[in-house]
Symmetry: C2
Subunit: 437 residues, 2 copies
């Protein structure tokens, strides 16, 4: 453990100087007086690592370096702020930094989702801090409340909109009635989707965040591989229309739950997929690039956190909050929260996770169709919550919403219903959340 | 400063054992293992101070005492949790505790609003912690984000629904169309209003919370006396109906703003009063006994925090979060946030605070009325944003919404308009927030 005297200057190594890094550098300079008053020490940039120093004429040249390992282990560096992203080579850099006794502030969700145990161990061994508020939901103070404010409570559920790109696309599909492909094109044109949107639209980004949230909420190591993940590429205009006609909307949610089975055994279920939620639910009004996370805890009840989930300035705000916390700890002594994995609950597979389905079908307009469909549900032990039938030109529309059942039972129910002769088309299948059961 | 060895047990003195205290005691016992894992030390109740120990057969008798000063200065006590409320004699008890080197966790908004400087000084002198998350918005993790997560950002505005009783009454008036007095009776009957509802309905409770929020947000000492306060007793069914007809609703808000005048001089304006906000605004959907606080910061942008603002379990959740933080500091060393009053901005009087008014009038149905009314606005330098006129049986209805002007200018404009011969009745006057200007 590196022992440092209380100090009046905390020196920061910045890795990466893109949109977020640039904002962090700007705010560190412009708000220097304010930050010093809050941190109890001046925050000073000791160096900035960028791939090509010659490509950054806008930055003070004497601070720039391409030698990341050299910078993060330099004697005069106290804190490393990592804004490069991706797993390798960042993982090695941060382990080097932590082993050299530097605290780390990072916005790297992919790294945290898969390697937080290793990083926390290195931080512990050196007695330094690891903060990562900006890794989930950008500017929204969310990880600190989960790790600290709710430390005396028992969280049962975390459910959130944590990816702005997919939320923008689904909001736009809902507003215009357009299909997925053309809305994605529009989002790309407007700069709301990356040139390669895979990480967002296929749910990888949200799954990383879900892993981080579940780990903190349930004191259990959850990695991205533990998260059941479905993206939004299969959401159709029909799905959105079906939701709308039922007073619901479609969102890509990350859902982290504590599940207790009949024998009282606890596990956690963590998933990312499109969901129908009622328009009356707090999360339904979260549109465009905004993020929001809904938390349920035994004592606190329902909580919601809302704000900007991405962007240079919002993310920089979260990074600076962490940086002030690290600086305060260096000045006053003390440590930020350590890994909390003492509960070590098992992760429940998706098939055994309780969910509810909405199913919208075109069926033959003949007597006895509902009876046939209902029998399939009964055969799989799935209980029906509501049914709506309506006729239209020779074919009838049938909408079913189920009670809770295991996802596997629901899936095989739908598979078998699709094979019934009387079923002309499965218009929409979607999981349902956020309503009374 | 009291120096303590790292320890495996943190001993808690509980002052008051009503609804919240009872929940805290229950959770300390039931969640003992979990709390110990999170705090790094066992949390143990050292004693419970109640006025009449003989009236609490449900509590362990050996822990009870009526001697508060004796308890809070006892050698084996590490932390004092205060849930009695009110200013005296609690102020003296907590100063005694802090001077004796005990950290303090309190939910006491009235005390914090008026005496935080003195309490923080005592905490600093002893090198101990003062936490008070439960004092504002119950279970909602709000003060920690303001004090810590946003420590690197510049907050420009905090606007919130922080009193559940008044929000319940206004929500019910909006839903039923009933008047204030009868809705208050109903709220009392249902247990949503105290027998003496003054502190809630006259805005004292919200004003204390506003003072605390403004102090933290603007790094400036703001007391309850600095807060302009108007309650909801004058809100009429007509006001609510007028709001509804304009796509707005009425909420009692606390509004804390950073105001920069033409010369670039900064000040803070802090106020509690009924406000019309558009139905599209995030805060408009916060109904019943829920609380929500909306924060704007330079880098983070818009944030909102939502949850239960009162009640035994939710408040206990916030208290326990603080208690875990204090315990961690005792175990690991380090300190919680200290008073941050370095900005020391002046408080702006209400008359000089920029606001916007909505004004609804019955006027004579003759030509030139709008011209006369508009002239009064012009005479006071108040610019009109929108006007709506409609006729009904000999009298006409005129609705005016202004641009921003000082509250004093708006007030004298309304006073003079009320005296015009052509104005039959001032139906509703209310400030407007949360829309584009």
């Amino acid at each position: 453990m590196s022992t440092k005297d209380p100090k009046d200057t905390v020196r920061v190594a910045l890795l990466g100087c893109g949109t977020v890094g640039g904002e962090v550098a700007r705010l560190l300079t412009e708000q220097a007086g304010e930050l010093a008053a809050r941190a109890g020490a001046r925050l000073e940039i000791a160096g900035i690592a960028v791939r090509r120093p010659d490509k950054h004429p806008e930055l003070p040249q004497e601070l720039l370096t391409a030698d990341v390992t050299g910078l993060v282990t330099r004697d005069d560096v106290d804190v490393v702020v990592e804004l490069v992203g991706g797993i390798e080579p960042v993982r090695g850099w941060l382990l080097d930094a932590l082993k050299a006794g530097k605290s780390v502030v990072t916005a790297n969700k992919a790294l945290l989702a898969d390697h937080s145990a290793e990083l926390f161990e290195a931080a512990d061994a050196s007695g330094v801090d690891l903060y990562f508020e900006a890794a989930v939901a950008g500017a929204i103070p969310l990880l600190r409340p989960l790790r600290e404010s709710l430390a005396g409570d028992r969280i049962t559920r975390v459910m959130g909109i944590v990816n702005g790109t997919t939320n923008f696309i689904l909001s736009a599909m809902d507003a215009t009635g357009a299909g997925y492909a053309e809305t994605l094109d529009e989002a790309s044109r407007l700069g709301y989707a990356e040139a390669d949107p895979t990480a967002d639209v296929d749910g990888y980004d949200a799954a990383s965040k879900a892993a981080i949230l579940a780990s903190l909420a349930f004191h259990t190591r959850v990695t991205a591989a533990d998260v059941h993940r479905e993206g939004i590429a299969d959401v159709t205009a029909s799905d959105i229309a079906a939701a709308r006609s039922l007073g619901r909307t479609v969102k890509l949610l990350c859902i982290c739950e504590r599940v207790t089975d009949e024998d009282g055994v606890e596990s956690v279920a963590v998933r990312v997929h499109p969901v129908m939620i009622p328009l009356s639910h707090q999360l339904s009004g979260v549109n465009g690039a905004f993020n929001a996370v809904y938390v349920e805890a035994d004592a606190a009840g329902e909580l919601m956190f809302y704000g900007q989930g991405a962007g240079g300035a919002p993310t920089a705000s979260a990074v600076l909050g962490d940086l002030v916390a690290v600086a305060r700890n260096l000045v006053l002594g003390g440590r930020g929260p350590r890994e909390s994995a003492h509960a070590a609950l098992p992760v429940r597979p998706m098939g055994q996770t309780p969910t509810r389905y909405h199913l919208s079908l075109y069926v033959a307009d003949v007597a006895g169709v509902l009876a046939q469909v209902a029998q399939v549900f009964a055969d799989h032990g799935v209980s029906i919550a509501a049914v709506r039938q309506s006729d239209s030109k020779g074919s009838a529309s049938l909408v079913v919403i189920t009670h809770l059942a295991t996802d596997a039972a629901l899936k095989s129910t739908v598979d078998q219903i699709a094979k019934l002769d009387v079923v002309h088309e499965v218009v929409s299948v979607m999981r349902v959340e956020g309503e009374d059961q």
